[in-house]
């Protein structure tokens, strides 16, 4: 029991009470255990605190009170006390003793509570995690009132009434905050901490509405990323986690554990920036690497053009000029020019696709997708896909590889001497040691290309179409081999790529 008096007043009152009890007990004829009233003296003397000064201890007063009771008994009765009078003395002494013991026990309990409070405060304030305590009592009262007024869809109502959400936010009191919370929000002293949640939650905040809905649903926890405003006015990103009451009570002490995300956000930004730089560098590296292969492929038709035009000039320089031959080689030069243009157009398409980056690409699904895409454009054509590369993967640029496989299939299909509706294209993947192979055949290959001393332009294959294919294959450290192509026969293309 904590008395409202000062120490001096309390001690004086206790002493006066003891004196009064002594006088009544000694000089009156009351047939009662008046000495029991000495227990009052102990109660008055005990100030209900844990201070250990003797004047605060009930036991300090118990002994004098017991002595006064005995003295009073001796004065009143001397050696002629009867049994009843003896029993009244014993009862009085017992009351004094019991009161002293009870008060001593209370003191011990208060000491334990005090030590527990000190320990709690120490832990609370030594945590590196910021914690503050919310009082949602008024908020819950208003939410219940809203639902009682007939609002079924609380979420829709609150979303349509942002002013009400702001009002509810202003009802949330902050009742306690630890040192870490003070530091997080730039506070200098506990008494200066924000009183209301609305004092440091930005107006544009959307997280409070989510919290209201969690309270309404009776969710046991609520976690969210949001921003809060420091005492200096800066916005800082935080992550807050709360355990919410689920039994309808405890809304006055809802603790929120708060993590400062400033450093994490900064690192995420740096990481994203580094990732963009890496992607950009990789993109440039891929384009650079590809450009070497592409320049090789473009130089082939250009060499052809040079040779054809030089030949045309020589045919025209003859006396008489061989115009027919000159026309023929000029026409072939035009075809070579078309091939070069085709390569350049395809390169342009590749570069236009945007970011290029390497990744592990599963070979079989890639081939199947390409075959299905081409099949959809040529429904009458027949594609027989035998995928035996299993989990074989290539480290490469997936868009380039898709273009490569699609172009090779198209080249074989276009090289067929038969129309599409009569063409059967066999597509087979396989694993050969550290390589993945793709064979695309149209009918059956007629064997190696026949060597010829003619300069007639071959009819089947588009040099421009295969040029970029070779460039992409080379870029991926692979190669392309073309066989067949004799009159009336289809061709077979074999692509070899290193396995990742």
């Amino acid at each position: 029991m904590v008395t409202p008096f000062t120490d001096r007043t309390r001690v004086s009152l206790a002493a006066l009470t003891a004196a009064a009890v002594f006088v009544i007990d000694t000089f009156t004829r009351l047939q009662s255990a008046v000495a029991v009233l000495y227990a009052l003296v102990l109660l008055i003397a005990d100030d209900g605190t844990s201070r250990s000064h003797p004047s605060h201890l009930a036991s300090y007063w118990a002994c004098p009170c017991a002595a006064l009771a005995v003295i009073s008994f001796l004065i009143s009765h001397g050696g002629r006390a009867d049994t009843d009078e003896m029993l009244r003395l014993v009862a009085s002494l017992a009351a004094i003793t019991i009161a002293a013991l009870l008060l001593a026990r209370n003191r011990r309990l208060r000491e334990q509570v005090r030590a527990s409070d000190v320990r709690y405060e120490t832990i609370f304030n030594s945590l590196a995690l910021a914690i503050w305590e919310h009082d949602f009592t008024e908020v819950m009262a208003e939410l219940n009132a809203l639902k009682a007024s007939g609002i079924d869809d609380l979420e829709a109502h609150l979303r349509a009434n942002p002013a009400q959400v702001a009002h509810l936010c202003s009802l949330v009191r902050i009742t306690h905050a630890n040192d870490a919370a003070m530091r997080l929000l730039g506070m200098t002293g506990r008494s200066a901490f924000f009183e209301r949640l609305s004092d440091f939650l930005p107006e544009e905040d959307q997280s409070f509405l989510a919290g209201l809905l969690a309270l309404d649903r009776g969710s046991p926890t609520f976690e969210i990323e949001c921003q809060v405003r420091t005492a200096g006015g800066d916005l800082i990103p935080i992550f807050i986690a709360m355990r919410l009451p689920t039994d309808g009570s405890g809304y006055d002490r809802v603790c929120g554990s708060v993590l400062d995300l400033t450093e994490r956000k900064r690192m995420e930004k740096s990481l994203e920036s580094a990732r963009q730089e890496r992607d950009e560098a990789l993109h440039r590296a891929i384009i650079g690497g590809l450009s070497t292969s592409i320049s090789h492929e473009v130089s082939q038709p250009l060499s052809s053009i040079n040779a054809y035009l030089a030949a045309a000039r020589r045919w025209l320089d003859r006396r008489p000029p061989d115009v027919a031959e000159a026309r023929r080689v000029i026409a072939q030069a035009e075809h070579a020019g078309d091939d070069a243009a085709q390569v350049i157009a395809q390169v342009h398409d590749v570069v236009e696709q945007g970011r290029l980056k390497r990744s592990l690409v599963l070979f079989d699904p890639l081939v199947r997708r390409a075959a299905e895409t081409i099949q959809s454009r040529h429904p009458a054509a027949s594609f027989a896909v035998t995928a035996e590369a299993g989990s074989g993967r290539i480290l490469g640029e997936v868009h380039l590889l898709e273009r490569l496989v699609s172009s090779l299939i198209c080249n074989v299909s276009n090289a067929s001497p038969r129309p599409h509706e009569e063409t059967a294209i066999g597509i087979a993947t396989s694993v050969d040691g550290s390589y993945l192979r793709l064979k695309i055949a149209c009918n059956s290959a007629a064997g190696p290309v026949r060597t010829t001393a003619t300069d007639r332009r071959p009819a089947h294959l588009s040099a421009g179409g295969l040029a970029l294919c070779r460039a992409i294959a080379q870029f991926h450290a692979g190669s392309i081999r073309v066989t067949g192509g004799g009159a009336g026969n289809g061709i077979e293309i074999e692509l070899e790529l290193p396995r990742a």
């Binding site: 040779a307 030089a310 030949a311 091939d339 003619t454």
Partner: protein
């Protein structure tokens, strides 16, 4: 160049790109020089090398590169000149070609006049022999 051929001098053109083979063949036909076209060096090595006055070969080819073809021809027919052509005319390839004894090192896109001049020079030397 002291070399005689029993039949009209023929140039072997070795390149895995068909457009190059046919274009060079057309160029040589314009100066009345026959040519034999090969997709790979392996096909050429199966032939009688004595009927050729020049081998004009690409360097970057699958199976047998131009450099490797040069080495084999030097072993089989040391007097047969081998001119190498490449779309990657960097110093490393040039040095390797020179070390292996290439007759010429030509960069693509080819200078057609330079090719003609090289062949006419060989033919002139063969005629003088």
């Amino acid at each position: 160049m002291n070399r005689t051929s029993p039949s009209p001098p023929c140039v072997a053109i070795v390149d895995d790109e068909e457009c190059i083979r046919t274009a060079l063949a057309g160029l040589l036909r314009s100066i009345d020089v026959p040519s034999a076209l090969f997709e790979s060096g392996i096909g050429l090595l199966e032939q009688d090398l004595s009927r050729f006055i020049l081998v004009l070969s690409d360097i970057q080819m699958p199976e047998l590169s131009g450099i490797e073809l040069l080495e084999r021809i030097r072993a089989l027919a040391p007097d047969l000149p081998v001119a190498l052509m490449t779309a990657y005319p960097d110093a490393e390839w040039r040095q390797r070609a020179q070390e292996k004894g290439a007759y010429r090192f030509l960069a693509k896109p080819l200078d057609a006049d330079a090719v003609i001049a090289m062949i006419e020079g060989l033919l002139g030397g063969a005629g003088q022999a």
